[in-house]
């Protein structure tokens, strides 16, 4: 909220230093986002144009005799066209400094020595379009010679204050003034709302919707619409509101001052001279004050006369009953609507206003009466006749009483506060406090002021106390934690997985989880759709980590993250994926060093992550090369998939090189077991190599399994280490070299024993896999 310090100081005495105010606001919970400092201004006084004459030598210039309360009037020439005798205007005297860096020096304009300059609002640092076109006009009563800058606070900073959504009361000058008064230990000067109401002024409002909770209506006659007083115009302008006329400005002024939005209707333009709060009719049209046409629906709440909508509730008034120069009589609306309804209406109509920003939050009902009374007073000051207000709908409830146990302050904040301090703090914020003696425990009965609708429970009061006592008084302490009942296993597994991949030399990356449709389309799958994407690039959830990794075109990277599938229900899984990429050419069609390297990583990965060595079997999975894809399994369950990327996807995703990918579903990883140490045998081992010929379909793993089974426990390592395809072994066959290392724990293995074992192995290989020894 734009908060001119000049305006705040109307209600509370504040330090001169803006920084002190800014720091105090921040520690109260109202961070200041920006401080707008005015341009340096000096030497500008109020002057009356005692005489205005045409310049003898220039058609477009006037020569004014200006009374600035000094003995001798100043002679000032001006090119402005809006000057007239009797006006009181800001006058820059010789030596004055104006906005934009202009410094006033004596000069001669077409033969006339000009002793200063008449000043426009823009030259005072105000918005040019919001004031007179030409020289700014001051109130006729302004003391001549008075310092215009000081008088209107044009040297004061304007703060942009952030107000949290619960503190609608602080979206007003009075609200912030109350906070600062409490913090600086001073008090607020409440504005004057006393009015002698005129007799009569009946007015009827029918409330047809429960979303209008209260409506204070008030008639005002003898209205004279004109330019508002300077002080009011300047305050509104500094707060970012365009001044319009004395009457309209009063409604804005009261909203910014008290927080209660008001709407003024031209009473004589209300059909039937009454108002009805109702749901809009379907298709009903309305033109608002800013000239925009809206088509309405019954979801929207309006205030109508007997014929048509005159106001979109809480948002904006209609042009039909706009207060204008000819307005003689007005009706004041100070209403309270259901915030949610105003918010939904605003977002549907794409219409927001300063009024709706307040209505959307929980405005207190009692504020309607406060706002109406203050407006009445200001209108009376403008010479209008104000009739007594009429309240419709719910009466404002009595101020709630919240019980506060003193020990609750200590329980939540962790430090002790004296009863007197608690009471002092609450009272400084406008709460009324009564301490009742209940047994051994102090209990305060706290009456909440009408504007603090956010305070409803004990904890709210504790926050008020903490805020004013200062959050710095909270003493840092290390809390007790007992035996931890909650396991951290998912996190620990993820950490272990990341650690293992890093140990294997992979670099972790982080990619975006929202993707365009083109990703799953190219991959050939479907994906979970975002209902309200910001752009097409973020329309779908990732279904796999791999596409984004491919697009990075890096070697040895990994990512751990969640992927999403739609199987009627949304399925979320945590995956790890790791990628090798090379641009080196492929050597042999039946061998693939990159695959072997990736698989070695995958096996090491499973061992480190689970404490166990996996089995490997050939498999087919979408995304992988149909002939180069392995599953790593534990107890028959797939733990990881490792293989070459399907070359067709390589083309689709322009990998520009050979890519090998492994993927792990973290939920499939069994909890790690602690490996058991097996002491090596003290006896020498014997090693035998076999050159076997088998069908192409027989895998190394099958051979190793058969060998292990044939000589139960004797074969300590079995490793197929060389593969050959070619004319020597014939079509449909391949040759595999296998090294078997045999060893006994209890004695030295003899050649004869080894020979027997090899016999058994060859027999088993022959019968189970049709393997023969390669001849020659």
């Amino acid at each position: 909220m734009r908060t001119p310090l000049a305006w705040l100081r109307d209600y509370v005495d504040l330090p001169a230093e803006t920084q002190a105010i800014v720091e105090k606001l921040a520690m109260l919970g109202f961070p200041v986002e920006a401080v707008d400092s005015p341009p340096p201004l000096s030497g500008i006084v109020a002057g009356k144009l005692a005489k205005v004459e045409k310049h003898p030598n220039a058609d477009r210039l006037f020569v004014c005799s200006v009374d600035i309360g000094a003995q001798k009037p100043l002679t000032i020439a001006t090119a402005a066209t809006n000057v007239a005798q009797g006006q009181v205007v800001p006058v820059a005297t010789i030596g004055a400094q104006l906005a934009g860096g202009l410094k006033i020096e004596p000069r001669t304009m077409r033969g006339i020595a000009s002793e200063g300059m008449l000043v426009s609002a823009n030259e005072l640092g105000l918005e040019a379009d919001w004031f007179e076109d030409g020289i700014m006009q001051l109130d006729p009563q302004t003391p001549l010679g008075s310092d215009v800058v000081k008088l209107f606070g044009l040297d004061q900073d304007v703060l942009e204050v952030e107000v949290t959504s619960n503190r609608v009361d602080a979206m007003s000058m009075l609200g912030l003034a109350r906070e600062l008064a409490a913090a600086f230990g001073t008090s607020v000067r409440e504005p004057d709302s006393a009015v002698d109401y005129a007799a009569g002024g009946e007015f009827s409002v029918e409330i047809e919707s429960p979303d209008c909770k209260r409506f204070v209506a008030q008639r005002v006659s003898n209205v004279q619409v004109r330019t508002a007083k300077t002080a009011l115009r300047v305050r509104l302008a500094l707060a970012g509101q365009r001044p319009i006329s004395n009457v309209v400005d009063i409604s804005n002024f009261v909203m910014l001052e008290t927080g209660q939005p008001l709407h003024f209707y031209d009473y004589e333009r209300l059909a039937g001279r009454r108002l009805i709060v109702r749901d809009a009719r379907d298709g009903e049209r309305v033109k608002t004050l800013d000239g925009i046409d809206y088509t309405l629906a019954p979801r929207m709440l309006v205030i109508a006369d007997e014929q048509e909508t005159q106001c979109l509730a809480g948002l904006k008034g209609a042009a039909a009953s706009e207060v204008g120069p000819a307005t003689r009589e007005i009706a004041i609306e100070a209403a309270n609507f259901t915030g949610a309804r105003v918010r939904r209406m605003g977002s549907e109509l794409a219409l927001r206003s300063d009024a709706s920003a307040r209505h959307e939050k929980a405005l207190p009902l009692a504020l309607t009466d406060v706002g109406a009374a203050r407006a009445a007073r200001l209108l009376v000051d403008e010479g209008a006749t104000v009739y007594a207000p009429h309240g419709f709908g719910q009466a404002a409830p009595a101020p709630p009483i919240v019980a506060l146990r003193k020990r609750e302050v200590r329980r939540l904040l962790g430090y002790e506060l004296e009863s007197a301090e608690i009471a002092r703090i609450l009272e400084s914020l406008g709460f009324s406090v009564r301490e009742s003696a209940v047994a051994h425990d102090g209990v305060f009965e706290v009456e909440v002021p009408l504007w603090r609708s956010d305070v409803t429970i004990e904890a709210d009061l504790v926050e008020e106390i903490a805020r004013l006592a200062g959050y710095d008084r909270v003493v840092a302490a290390i809390p007790p934690t007992g035996q931890q009942a909650i396991a951290s296993e998912a996190y620990e597994m993820q950490r272990r997985v990341a650690e293992t991949l890093a140990m294997l030399g992979y670099r972790e990356v982080a990619t975006l989880a929202l993707q365009p449709a083109s990703v799953h389309q190219r991959w050939g799958t479907n994906a979970v759709e975002i209902a309200n994407p910001l752009s097409e690039d973020q329309h779908y959830m990732r279904f796999s980590l791999i596409p984004a990794l491919l697009q990075l075109r890096q070697d040895k990277i990994f990512e751990i993250g969640d992927v999403f599938g739609d199987a009627g229900e949304i399925v979320e899984k945590t995956h790890a994926a790791f990628v090798r990429r090379t641009t080196a050419p492929q050597a042999q069609s039946w061998s693939d060093e990159q695959f072997v390297a990736l698989k070695a990583d995958a096996i090491a990965f499973v061992r480190r992550a689970t404490g166990r060595l996996p089995d490997v079997r050939a498999a087919k999975h979408h995304g992988w090369h149909p002939g180069i894809c392995a599953e790593l399994t534990l107890d028959g369950n797939t733990i990881a998939i490792a293989g070459a990327l399907d070359p067709r996807l390589g083309v689709q995703f322009e990998t520009d090189g050979r890519v090998h990918v492994a993927q792990v579903d973290l939920a499939a990883l069994p909890a790690p077991v602690v490996p058991r140490y097996r002491a090596p045998s003290r006896y020498p081992s014997l090693s035998r190599d076999l050159a076997l010929v088998v069908d192409l379909g027989v895998s190394a793993q099958q051979i190793e399994t058969v060998i292990g089974g044939a000589v139960d426990g004797l074969a300590r390592t079995i490793r197929a280490f060389d593969e050959y395809h070619g004319p020597q072994v014939g079509a449909g066959k391949k040759s595999l070299a296998v090294r078997i290392v045999m060893q006994r724990d209890d004695a030295t293995m003899t050649d004869a024993e080894a020979d027997t074992a090899i016999e058994k192995i060859l027999g088993a290989l022959k019968s189970e896999l049709g393997a023969t020894l390669r001849s020659g």
Partner: protein
């Protein structure tokens, strides 16, 4: 020639031959020529057969002695070669300043490192680390957190929806509800994880980011404990002189509520034209407060018996300050130079 002379001549001959044997291969050739199966010693041994039987033992011994002598010569020559090789090796000089490039390390992403370091602190103090789903219900994300439909604060969470009641979590706070519904008090957890909000991407915003949530509920848990734990976390992440201060704020699920500031690590709190903190000496790292009684009630805890605190911090924000990163998009660009520097 007498056997004795013959052996002496052989030793002398070898001694001279060894002087020109410069490497192990030459040495091996000489060994074969002298001591090999058909070498000179073998030849001399054959001569023993022609001697009278009573001279043969003496002759045999003389030959064995001579062989020992030759072997000693070979050993000495071997040692000489090895010493020469060492000398040669010691002669070498490299320009050790050439090619100063670190070997590629496997590494963690800086976001994970920051998460891990923060979690480590809490684990050390007996907290559990929980992970939770990124897709969660409106109940967990809002309703149970005291943000009913139409609450103005709900607007602050501009979320991606998959179904009317299912969204990508805009904060890690739904895990407060999941944890408290699953476990009775006392509870002490931290929850790191990804969150999503409908923000346009620029140097300061990503629609996908990480938070760390903290929650402790039990008897006698108060605001001071929150300050203590956050101070500890900040010291773990930024250094031993970090302080934490609170500023009042509003979150529907905490009361009292506070913004968390910590000493700016860029300037050590000195401020003065510091680009990390903008001169204030403090940086804002998240929101926190005492768990709202309505939240405790929503999960079946009794707010009159237990109290608790919760906080949420943006990991990217912490990591940017920690590593002095100016653009949040660096985290998803994955430039090798970026990842390598922070490995």
């Amino acid at each position: 020639m007498a056997l004795h002379d013959q052996l002496s001549a052989l030793a002398a001959e070898l001694a001279s031959a060894l002087t020109s044997a410069s490497d192990e291969r030459a040495l091996e050739e000489l060994r074969i020529a002298y001591l090999g199966r058909s070498g000179k010693i073998t030849e001399i041994r054959r001569g023993i057969g022609k001697l009278p039987p009573d001279e043969r033992p003496t002759a045999g011994k003389s030959i064995n002695d001579a062989v020992a002598g030759l072997e000693a010569q070979f050993a000495a020559a071997q040692q000489g070669i090895e010493l020469r090789k060492l000398d040669a090796e010691l002669e070498r000089t490299l320009d050790v300043t050439l090619w100063n490039v670190p070997a590629p390390l496997g590494s963690f992403h800086p976001i994970r490192k920051t998460i891990d370091d923060a979690c480590t602190y809490f684990v050390r103090h007996g907290f559990a680390v929980l992970l939770g789903p990124e897709v969660d219900t409106t109940r967990h994300n809002f309703d149970a957190l005291n943000i009913p439909p139409d609450h103005p604060a709900r607007e602050g969470f501009d979320s991606f929806y998959l179904r009317p009641d299912l969204l990508l979590r805009p904060h890690t706070s739904p895990m407060q509800i999941r944890a408290m519904e699953a476990y009775p008090p006392p509870i002490a957890i931290v929850v790191p994880g990804k969150c999503y909000r409908r923000d346009a991407v620029d140097a300061r915003h990503l629609y996908q980011f990480n938070q760390i949530e903290g929650l402790q509920v039990g008897e006698g848990i108060h605001f001071g404990h929150l300050r203590g734990m956050l101070t500890g976390m900040c010291r773990e992440l930024f250094g031993p002189r970090q302080e934490v201060r609170f500023r009042p704020s509003f979150f529907p699920f905490t009361e009292p509520s506070a913004e968390i500031d910590t000493t700016c690590p860029g300037c050590g709190g000195g401020g003065e034209s510091c680009r990390t903190c903008g001169g204030s000496g403090w940086i804002e790292i998240g929101g926190s407060g005492m768990v709202h009684p309505n939240v405790l009630r929503a999960v079946g805890y009794d707010p009159d018996v237990v109290s608790g605190w919760a906080f949420g911090c943006g990991i990217e924000r912490l990591a940017m300050v920690r590593y002095d990163i100016g653009d949040i998009r660096e985290f998803i660009w994955n430039e090798p130079s970026f990842l390598e520097q922070l490995a």
